[in-house]
């Protein structure tokens, strides 16, 4: 396949496709079931098309490297507030993550708990549907309720509804200062209580994680404000141990799930925060876990195990939430539903939407099959 440079190139490639396509940006965060097919590489659609710092908006072609976008924003003291994850360490991939891949996987980091997910910052998309048709939805302004919100539908759709060609995002000011309050050696249940106390305070905690047995609580903003809030928050945490104030905690370890790197299999489970400890309590011996989002996002590493996978998805269904196999050997990914199976009416709607947006079933077919 020739290198794709423009949206029209992508549209033609999809129209001309004789079979399944594997949609690929930077190739750093491929998960799900691999049904095979020709690679449709959109990394050639690159470049920031518009950036208005005074309007807090940036528009970029889908193949634009996240690093390039972050550099452009940093030059204006702004940032992507959803804190996109870098999955190369976890998945053992190489290359440069693209903004289209971040959008297609809704890859939100620790700040999701306070600021929102990729889907919350996505203002508009252009994409090529499975028939090769170019479609736009949303736009480049911060408030837009004109017609249905297909932007949300595309966020996290893993390229199964369309091939993203352009994304417009809301950005936020970068912060002057950051500190992390650390509670050392806290059990999971106590950890969630501590995180709930912090997140339920008026101090705008922008990260709440349990990593290597410690609780991390992040405060960001103007220096004086961060200092004040750290002091105000400390007494609320007294019941959970002595608070250490760390100036430069490495939040990329939480964001990129560093303690899980090198694992054979890794699961990502989203539940109500207070249910996080129940997920951890149910794990078999040898499993290790990390909680983000105040306890609502549980990462689990273990040897590849279909039994554990089924148990995690069954538990997520009971609790209300979802469990996804993020990393695992090909054999395991082929044997189990990688994504959480949905209730019958939801699954039916999902299948019909896919059939409408991708009538030939050629866009990452089966990737999200539950």
């Amino acid at each position: 396949m020739d290198v794709l440079r423009t949206e029209q190139d992508v549209a033609e490639a999809v129209r001309d496709a004789g079979g399944p396509l594997i949609v690929r940006g930077g190739g750093t965060r491929s998960i799900g079931r691999n049904a095979g097919g020709d690679v449709l590489d959109v990394s050639g659609l690159s470049g920031i098309t518009l950036y208005e710092p005074g309007a807090l908006t940036i528009v970029a072609q889908a193949g634009t490297k996240v690093a390039d976008i972050e550099a452009a924003l940093a030059a204006e003291k702004q940032r992507l507030a959803f804190e996109p994850t870098d999955m190369t360490g976890l998945l053992g991939t190489s290359g440069a993550s693209t903004i289209g891949g971040v959008m297609a996987t809704n890859a939100s980091g620790p700040r999701r708990i306070q600021a929102g997910a990729v889907r919350d910052f996505a203002l508009g998309v252009r994409f090529v549907d499975g028939a090769g048709q170019v479609i736009k939805n949303g736009g480049r302004v911060m408030k837009n309720v004109t017609g249905y919100d297909l932007v949300k539908l595309m966020a996290g759709s893993h390229g199964t509804l369309g091939v993203l060609t352009e994304v417009s995002l809301k950005v936020l000011p970068a912060v002057e200062a950051e500190v992390t309050l650390v509670l050392p050696a806290v059990a999971a249940e106590q950890a969630v209580r501590a995180m709930s106390a912090a997140l339920g305070s008026p101090y705008e905690v922008s990260g709440a994680a349990w990593i290597d047995g410690d609780v991390w609580l992040r405060l960001e903003g103007f220096a004086a404000s961060v200092a004040y809030r750290a002091e105000a928050l400390t007494p609320l945490l007294a019941a959970f141990g002595a608070v250490e104030v760390v100036q430069k905690a490495d939040w990329s370890r939480v964001r990129d799930v560093a303690p899980m790197h090198g694992a054979e299999a890794v699961w990502r489970i989203s539940v109500k925060p207070s249910d996080g400890p129940a997920v951890i309590a149910g794990l078999p011996e040898g499993a290790r876990s990390l909680m983000d989002w105040g306890g609502g996002l549980v990462w689990v590493r273990h040897d590849a195990s279909a039994d554990l996978h089924r148990a995690l998805q069954a538990q997520a269904a009971t609790l209300g939430g979802h469990a996804t196999l993020i990393k695992g050997p090909e054999a395991l990914r082929a044997a189990v539903p990688v994504f959480q199976p949905e209730a019958a009416p939801v699954a039916a709607l999902t299948a019909q939407l896919r059939a409408r947006f991708d009538p030939r079933g050629i866009l990452n077919p089966g990737l999200m099959a539950a």
Binding site: P53, T57, K143, Y148, D149, Y228
Partner: protein
């Protein structure tokens, strides 16, 4: 404003439809007397009215499911209604429809401070969601100006915003889950107390779908702890251009106020008259609010007023008390009712890139002269969501039509400069026929494909959102299938 001709076959079946609805609902929950259905003839877009065939007021998700199942079987269109405060005609009936009002469903079902959510029935009003949790220090962030009256159901249907969404986001950013009833009566849960979808984000599509994909009976809403304090500052400027430049400078300086509101002279005058907030009289007024402890507020306001000083403000005044802050906001939030006391008006809702504010305001001023109708401007300046209020005289023949034409020109201008038709009110019937200016045929087709999936018979609020000629084939097919 054109609406589809009522289907005489449906009207002829009224008695049977009413009888079937009475089988599943309490007697007083089915309203079919024309004297009483008149109460549902319009929403807050009062220029257009049409009493429905029947109105129903179910009290449970099961009753909603029963109503929809019956209407589906009978081929009767259903128009969902929250509190009827839509400014876009989202709840405007057709003569052959059943209005499904959720007003009786207003309970708080679950309050969970540890996990920071509240689950409510969707007939509950926006402000009473906060009312249920504020004694414990929490609040629900989206704050449309009609929050005293508007229902969560309508907020979800229109993805409502509000003055404070610059910091906290709009409804979709604060909505975690819904109980949705499909047109055929199927009940499902989307989302919940956890974050983000495990599969496709159907919740994200439901929010803002204007009651066309299903009826939302229950909602899980994110609640936040109230900030320690909040304080607005008033800044007056000689021109909208200068005010716009000041807004951009504030945002570029790295401060993110919780709200930045703009009012022009006409609005300052009517709001002052209404609320006695002691607004400075000037061409362009900004209300900028920040939150935090007293010291944090002082620091942020020092930075913000420092920026404002560089733009030579004609007035600059921090609120001196909670009471004064309340009056400042009461005036702003009453803008629509305040102007309603002096004139009939149509409220527009286009959003534009912030950088285009001066140009668009100048063009609106020129159009006001061309069309001979006065315009007041009040809007959320931080995010470019404008609310031009076009004044007209409902009793003067032709004035409404002139106003509609003027409004359409303004909205087309918003699209031309890179913005959109509606930022927070929704398309409804008001902007329906302008959709083709914003979206090409395949863009609209993709959206209608979503409706095909959720509501294959096109019975839910069918004459809204999409231009009538664009949706005609689908609506006709649905009728033929009866």
């Amino acid at each position: 404003m054109q609406m589809p001709t009522p289907d005489p076959q449906i009207l002829s079946r009224k008695a049977r439809v009413v009888a079937r609805l009475r089988d599943v609902l309490p007697r007083d929950a089915v309203i079919d007397d024309p004297a009483e259905t008149r109460a549902y003839e319009c929403d807050a877009l009062t220029a257009y009215r049409c009493p429905p065939m029947v109105a129903v007021l179910p009290a449970t998700t099961q009753e909603v499911s029963d109503v929809l199942r019956i209407c589906h079987a009978e081929g009767v269109p259903v128009v969902p209604r929250g509190s009827g405060t839509s400014l876009a005609g989202g709840a405007l009936p057709t003569a052959d429809c059943v209005i499904l009002g959720v007003a009786r469903m207003n309970a708080v079902l679950e309050t969970d401070y540890d996990n920071r959510f509240v689950r409510v029935q969707t007939g509950r009003t926006n402000l009473s969601v906060t009312g249920a949790v504020e004694a414990d220090g929490f609040f629900y962030a989206p704050d449309p100006s009609s929050q005293l009256a508007c229902a969560i159901a309508g907020n979800i249907a229109m993805n409502s915003g509000g003055a404070h969404c610059l910091k906290y986001g709009v409804t979709t950013n604060n909505l975690m889950g819904v109980t949705l009833v499909q047109m055929d009566g199927t009940v499902m849960e989307l989302g919940g107390a956890h974050l983000d979808a495990g599969g496709l984000d159907l919740l994200g599509v439901i929010c803002g779908s204007e009651g066309q994909l299903g009826v939302v009976t229950e909602a899980t809403l994110r609640i936040l702890h109230k900030p320690e304090g909040a304080r607005p500052v008033l800044m007056g400027f000689d021109s909208a251009e200068v005010a716009g430049a000041c807004v951009a400078d504030i945002i570029k300086a790295g401060v993110l106020p919780v709200a930045i509101e703009f009012m022009d002279r006409m609005l300052i005058e009517v709001c002052e008259d209404f609320a006695k907030a002691d607004y400075p009289m000037c061409e362009a007024l900004l209300i900028v609010e920040v939150e935090g402890s007293d010291a944090e507020i002082d620091a942020q306001l020092a930075l913000i007023t420092g920026i404002a000083q560089r733009h030579n403000p004609v007035a600059l005044r921090e609120s001196a008390s909670a009471e004064e802050s309340a009056r400042i906001w009461a005036g702003r939030k009453a803008a629509f009712s305040a102007i309603g006391r002096v004139s009939d008006y149509m409220c527009l809702d286009g959003t534009i890139p912030v950088s285009e504010l001066p140009y668009v305001l100048r063009r609106i001023g020129e159009m006001s002269k061309e069309y001979g109708l006065p315009v007041g401007n009040v809007f959320h300046a931080g995010d470019g969501n404008m609310h031009p209020l076009i004044c007209y005289d409902a009793n003067k023949p032709g004035d409404l039509e002139t106003c509609e034409a003027f409004g359409a020109e303004v909205l087309k201008l918003c699209v031309e400069v890179g913005g959109c038709l509606t930022g927070e009110h929704g398309v409804g019937i008001e902007k329906r026929d302008l959709m083709s200016h914003q979206y090409a045929a395949p863009d609209l087709e993709a959206q209608m494909a979503v409706k095909d999936v959720f509501d294959p018979a096109w019975l839910l609020n069918p004459a809204k959102v999409f231009p009538l000629d664009v949706s005609e084939a689908r609506r006709a097919a649905a009728l033929a299938a009866e």
